[in-house]
Symmetry: C2
Subunit: 344 residues, 2 copies
DNA sequence: GTATACAATGAATACGTATACACAGCGATC
DNA sequence: GATCGCTGTGTATACGTATTCATTGTATAC
């Protein structure tokens, strides 16, 4: 009991060679049915499980995927992680999770080259990080989820942030809003960039300008949204609608508005991005652009498995639509909007 | 470039044997300083990282900890996971994350015996699951975090749920509440049991009885809290205070109350448990019992590392205090409470 | 000047599995 | 009845590292 039994121990018990045990374990067809049955019986009685390390060493496959993520406590990331775990587990893969928030580049690089995993899923690619480059260069199959990097020769699955943002912008413009607040992120991801460009494009088409004083650049936390709301809404002529890049920021903005006694949507409309579970809670009841988390994860893991099987297959970049989900933080029908843009 | 370089390749380059390279890698003192320098130079130039699998196979240590968790999207669990990741990473350990929500027992058992990790952290032990038993029997060092199992010979680190609940109960009793609602969990954990017993003990001491009609047993989701609030608060004589087992349920209750037009804390006080980040958001401003997440995780990982180093060390059960954090979902001072219990 | 201790290194092995290779048995084919 | 192919099995090896053991060279003690 002290030392776990090995395939060799079991071979002795079953009266066969270790090779035969191994053949049974790997479902090798070239083994006599009777022998197979006998071995299986012994395996079962001994409650034997193959040593995953030795197997991985021999086959070069660990059946484990490395996931790089930041800020697990952020609702969207938590949902993404949950989904990744679910899908990986459903196809028999383990997950090693690395939170790379505070880790120095050197230690990340070590991790990348340790050959501990068959592939990487990166969910937080930004232009000022070298993680994605290092991952691709490590030679281990890599897929970027949720955040992409333009021009990187690497499979990527992202929501159509430009389109989602565009729809949000058009929705506000069609409702007649002209004083629009934009709470943007300071970091350098593809995602936040497109979530701004698409939004601006829609407003441009409608002839609506976003004033400089209605643009705030902030960090990613709830408190940042809170502060942004204070800034935007305490102006003499505050915006009648605010759009921001993530639900978490929107929650902060909503709280900031409440603290000022500004009502949503009566005094100001609010649109977020991600459609996290929380957005549907009555506390927030947030109009937001939905990310197709399930499809993103499923497609991404599909691509990753394909690439693991065939490293030479051509790189794919998949973009999935992001539908606008209208809730109570904006008027429920465009018709009702007329009242909102009026006052301050 | 196709095949990653091995220590043997590097040995050839440096003009030494593979054994010497290995000695350099493991900081073996018995190697000539000049030789060491030369080898290190070659290692650096080749950007070499040892194959973690081969190393693990030889040493029997993977420097990886397996974490079992459920419902990563739940705010408390996400914070717990985040903290676990931070602490593990700070001591140079990797994390394999298993979400065991839907996995059949057999596949979990396989995972436990694969010897992929040096130890297990279990965060979701319940009496109707056999996970903890299987983990302990696997022979791999195991620590229970956050949820304990009475009588299990296994290191455990938990918050003092009884004391935290007791404090919450006394706080309500001292504020003069007599019509108290209890939203309890249907599952069979230590945690939820003590969070009920402690609360009841405090009320008993104060001579306050919880009426059957003010007791609701529910699931763990936001929607469950919401439904519970509807049930409790739509009575002719609704409770003037509600206590529940988790913040997530409290958020649901708060939303349920809002949907009914019941004001918190004016019409009803509300107390949760966990002190998640969200509890401090203005949307919730929730009085709650704080779990010492950082201390729980740090202590737990400490215990686990100790046990990995010395499997024979005696089992420890650590209980950490849970302070009550008073916020706006209850009156801010006990003195102000007099007004609340009065009406309905 | 030989014997002894010690430092530094290389050769060989083991971790537990998967698999290439060799080989025995045996039916079918000419 | 010898050759061929095919099935099932065992033997041997390799994955990449850490480590034991043997060996060399050098300094110290007699």
């Amino acid at each position: 009991m002290s030392r776990p039994p090995t395939s060799r121990d079991l071979a002795r018990l079953a009266g066969v060679s270790q090779a035969t045990v191994s053949r049974v374990l790997t479902n090798n067809p070239k083994v006599n049915p009777e022998t197979r049955a006998r071995v299986l019986q012994v395996l079962k009685e001994a409650n034997y499980t193959p040593n995953a390390l030795a197997r991985a060493m021999k086959t070069g496959r660990t059946d484990t995927i490395g996931v790089f993520m930041t800020r697990v406590t952020s609702p969207f990331h938590a949902e993404l992680l949950d989904e990744i775990g679910r899908v990986l587990s459903s196809v028999g893969l383990h997950m090693i999770l690395w939170n790379i928030e505070h880790d120095p580049e050197e230690s990340v690089s070590k991790v990348l080259q340790q050959r501990l995993v068959d592939g990487f899923l990166l969910t937080s690619a930004t232009y000022d990080s070298t993680l994605h480059t290092m991952a691709v260069e490590s030679g281990t199959p890599t897929v970027l989820l949720h955040r992409g990097i333009d021009g990187l020769d690497c499979d990527q699955v992202v929501g159509d942030n430009w389109q989602g943002a565009y729809d949000a912008g058009r929705y506000l413009a069609e409702a007649g809003h002209t004083e629009i607040g934009l709470v943007r992120l300071e970091h350098t991801g593809n995602t936040s960039r497109d979530r701004e460009l698409g939004f601006r494009a829609a407003l441009d088409e409608a002839g609506v300008k976003i004033k400089a004083r209605n643009t705030v650049t902030v960090g990613v936390q709830h408190a940042d949204g809170h502060a942004a709301a204070q800034k935007l809404l305490s102006q003499k002529k505050p915006p009648t609608a605010i759009y921001t890049m993530t639900d978490l920021l929107a929650f902060g903005i909503l709280d900031g508005a409440r603290a000022l006694g500004v009502r949503v949507p009566d005094d100001v409309w609010l649109i977020g991005y991600d459609n996290t579970d929380l957005a549907a809670w009555e506390s927030f009841d947030l109009t937001t652009v939905a990310q197709p988390i399930h499809a993103i994860v499923e497609t991404g893991i599909d691509l990753l498995r394909r690439r693991i099987a065939d490293p030479e297959s051509p790189t794919e970049i998949v973009t999935l639509p992001c539908p606008l989900v209208v809730r109570g933080s904006t008027a429920n029908t465009p018709a009702a909007a007329g009242s909102a843009p009026a006052g301050g």
